[in-house]
């Protein structure tokens, strides 16, 4: 069984803003950059998993994060996930084991919006990935 969660900031996301600034310098036309941390849990998962990870503040601090469960362990349309190419799944979170969790995978989700708040064209997102968001020497982009 697999369950996938996205954690995004509800306060200004400095990393996303830095990405936006750098992409602008590279001539990539976007008006807003959104970033989320993706957590994929595999195992015989507890029904209370969402509540459990929602209480681990290294994953989700309710004062500044929004935690949402995804319906699939794949990017949503308009989104790209960047993952380590040779990732060794973790089994612990903040030094502790979670009930039934055998493997934890992490990705960074990026989404680029235009000035109308729509996803940029796939070619623009591809260019952002190739020029900046993903280092193919050790990362892979998943769309």
């Amino acid at each position: 069984m697999t369950r996938t969660f996205a954690v995004s900031l509800t306060i200004p996301d400095n990393e996303a803003f830095t990405a936006f600034e750098t992409l602008g310098r590279l001539g990539i036309d976007t008006s807003r950059v959104l970033r989320s941390d993706i957590w994929i849990f595999e195992g015989d998962l507890d029904a209370e998993l969402a509540a459990t990870i929602g209480s681990i503040e290294t994953i989700h601090n309710p004062n500044k994060h929004r935690l949402t469960e995804r319906q699939a362990d794949l990017p949503e349309p308009g989104e790209v996930w960047v993952a380590p190419r040779d990732e060794a799944p973790a089994t612990l979170v903040a030094g502790r084991a979670l009930p039934g969790v055998r493997a934890i995978l992490r990705r960074t989700a990026w989404r680029l919006l235009d000035d109308q708040g729509r996803d940029v064209a796939p070619a623009v997102l591809d260019r952002a990935v190739e020029t900046f968001l993903c280092n193919p020497a050790f990362q892979v982009a998943i769309t």
């Binding site: 750098t22 280092n135 193919p136 020497a137 050790f138």
Partner: protein, 266 residues
């Protein structure tokens, strides 16, 4: 003390750099005029004879270690200088920036990295005293003038992202074509595993021309006798001058200084 007659070396400071002062101190100890240049003043860089990108966490390592800095405007003149044959040394975060900028190993287009200093295999930050050994012929590293074959230099490895990572064919190219400038070793020069889990036990990469060197461990943090973890530190105890004397990792900077002087008219 700065000497106006000395070759001028820019130590490039990004938001988040944290090793600039000790780097300047090491450069001045070997007779170079090290000077801080902030990221907001790229126009100031052209007048320098050589460049050092020091350690730290440029732009908080946002996106990836070195990635944002590699695309910063201040890197444009550094890249131009490297392409013109000037010497560029990157230490730790500076090494990560050089890899992200495509200057090392330098086997692909600029700013399209073919290798990276990726997160350590352990997932943890390491801070350990190490030795690194020259792994290529001295004539492959003209940036280190007069360095002896298989030279062993003490330093501190202090990084969370020091693991050389690249596709298998690129790793083979790095090894085959003499880009693997330094590997980790013990004090006697015997190879040891990289604390980062780096491929090839890599501690440093050099470009094809040998004028750009990216080295992960901080030689400038083992630049003075009191920083050594060996008998020389104990032997100097009680002798202020000996304790504060340049030694150990300062040799890396001495060789860098020799190379800079060779390229700068007196």
């Amino acid at each position: 003390m700065s000497d106006v007659a000395s070759p001028r070396v820019a130590v490039v400071v990004f938001p988040g750099t944290n090793s600039e002062d000790e780097t300047v101190r090491a450069l001045r100890a070997v007779g170079l005029d090290g000077e801080l240049v902030h990221w907001s003043a790229p126009e100031a860089l052209a007048r320098f004879d050589a460049y050092v990108l020091p350690g730290g966490f440029a732009y908080e390592d946002r996106i990836r270690a070195g990635a944002v800095a590699a695309h910063d405007l201040v890197m444009d003149p550094v890249i131009e200088a490297a392409q013109a044959g000037k010497l560029v040394l990157g230490i730790c975060n500076g090494a990560q920036i050089l890899a992200e900028a495509g200057l090392v190993p330098g086997t692909g287009p600029l700013r399209r990295p073919t290798a990276a200093f990726a997160p350590n295999a352990s997932g943890r930050f390491v801070s350990v005293h190490v030795h690194v050994k020259l792994n290529v012929a001295p004539d492959r590293v003209p940036i280190l003038g007069g360095i002896e074959d298989r030279a062993v230099i003490p330093a501190w490895a202090s990084h969370g992202d020091g693991r050389l990572a690249a596709p298998a064919d690129e790793l083979a190219r790095i090894e085959r074509d003499g880009h693997l400038a330094f590997i980790y070793c013990d004090r006697d020069g015997n190879p040891v595993p990289a604390p980062s889990g780096a491929a090839l036990d890599c501690a440093g990469l050099v470009n094809r021309e040998g004028n750009v060197l990216a080295i992960m461990p901080h030689a400038e943090r083992d630049g003075w006798t009191f920083q050594h973890l060996d008998a020389s530190r104990d032997a100097a105890r009680g002798d202020t001058a000996a304790t504060l004397a340049p030694s150990g990792g300062i040799r890396l900077f001495e060789h860098f200084a020799a190379a800079v002087r060779k390229r700068v008219p007196a």
